[in-house]
Amino acid sequence: MRTALVVLRKDLRVESRTLETVPAMILLALITFVIFHFGLDRDTIGGQLAAGVLTATLLFAAMLGINRLFVAEREQGGFDAFLMAPVDRTALLIAKAAALFIYLIVLEIVAVPAFGLLLLGPSLGHALPGIVLILILANVGLSVIGTLVSAIAVHTRARDLIGPVIGLPLLLPALIATARGLGPLLRAGHAASAPPGRWLAILALYDLVFALIAYGVFDFLLED
């Protein structure tokens, strides 16, 4: 855990100096909301449509972060330096997943209120705790699967393609559960105040399964 914190601190420091990933993720999300606003030709949306738009937008913005997760390691030799250190390689998985999780939280702090202002009909207020809970569970899945996919993609020449091509199908169940969980919370008029437990359970289970898979295979992914 100590090594993971060392790597995470380094990653956050590099990101705070370069601002290459998080601002791009936020910008993409905001542009996508504007595109949906005009593409759907509606001033406001609610319910399952709103949940789908929000989830898909966050997913596409997350793909940017996933694609860039290991860029500094690959381009600046960080992989070699880490692999030569006498440390548990799982620390890299934990650090990278934690970094992506933090990027997603920052993205959502900006993107969710912007979504409320630009597209959403019903007010976010009463449903916010439920939305936060679902997004946290979704972020765990995105972070773990994103880190796995990024670790696979970074060793390939077509890494910009590999990320979405492998990542999006793997993330589909999490995307469905997130959107279905958010739908009732974003309904106009009689919106639910808590997310449906079934979708929360599916998201949590999905997170757990992929966390175990990631733990099992990550070492192998770093091998030559």
Binding site: V6, D80, A85, P86
Partner: protein, 229 residues
């Protein structure tokens, strides 16, 4: 550990990249404390050999033993004993030299005081808080050398270690990466004269094959010319 145990033993090491063989059945034995100069033209397999010794690449055939431990199977046991100075400085450009070294110190469990020690040894204390991207190539190389020796490794893998260094800087880093370091060293160089002068053993590679393994005195000028022809 058995004092007579060689620091490095290569037995028929072969490594392919797709259809191309980067190394073919290379064998050599390097006693502890000795310096092996690996010579050859660009693409001869020198960097591949260093990466195999650093446990960053696995050989497709043959055996690699470092301090008696087979690689990559027992890489964990030897990582702390290896220092790699590669073409790439393995430094994050946005971090300062000091931040980079502190990061590596934490990964290797080295006390922070050692960072100041190595920065002083490469005369980089005054520019230690500048981002690496603002440093000259020579300065980056000095920080990279500081990184490679930070954890006091016993085996130094040096790929063109004096690249970008002016004569005074090259002299400055001598106690860290030169013979005076007391480490077993494997070094590559495009300057065969300089490499032969500090080598105890020579491994000449041509198209991935070892065409000569032996003492530098037995590797004459004609052989050097032929190797680089």
């Amino acid at each position: 550990m058995d004092a007579k145990l060689p620091a490095i033993e290569l037995r028929g090491v072969t490594r392919h990249f797709g259809e191309r063989s980067a190394l073919r059945e290379v064998s050599a034995r390097v006693p502890a404390g000795a310096t092996l100069a690996v010579l050859g033209r660009n693409g001869a397999g020198k960097s591949t050999l260093l990466r195999i010794l650093a446990a960053l690449l696995r050989p497709h055939e043959g055996e690699v033993l470092v301090f008696g431990e087979p690689l990559p199977r027992r890489a964990f046991a030897v990582r702390a004993k290896l220092g790699l100075l590669a073409h790439d400085p393995l430094l994050y450009r946005e971090l300062t030299g000091r931040e980079n070294l502190e990061y590596h110190a934490r990964l290797h469990g080295v006390p922070r005081g050692r960072v100041d020690e190595v920065l002083e040894a490469v005369a980089m204390e005054r520019r230690a808080d500048d981002p690496v991207r603002l440093l000259s190539r020579g300065m980056v190389q000095r920080v990279a050398i500081a990184r490679a020796v930070l954890h006091a490794p016993r085996l130094l893998l040096l790929d063109e270690p004096r690249a970008n260094l002016d004569p005074s800087a090259a002299e400055l880093v001598e106690p860290l990466i030169g013979r005076a370091s007391g480490c077993t060293r494997v070094l590559t160089s495009h300057d065969p004269g300089a490499a032969l002068a500090e080598a105890d053993l020579v491994l000449a590679l041509k198209d991935g094959r070892a065409v000569f393994v032996g003492e530098p005195t037995a590797f004459g000028e004609a052989q050097v010319k032929e190797l680089y022809a």
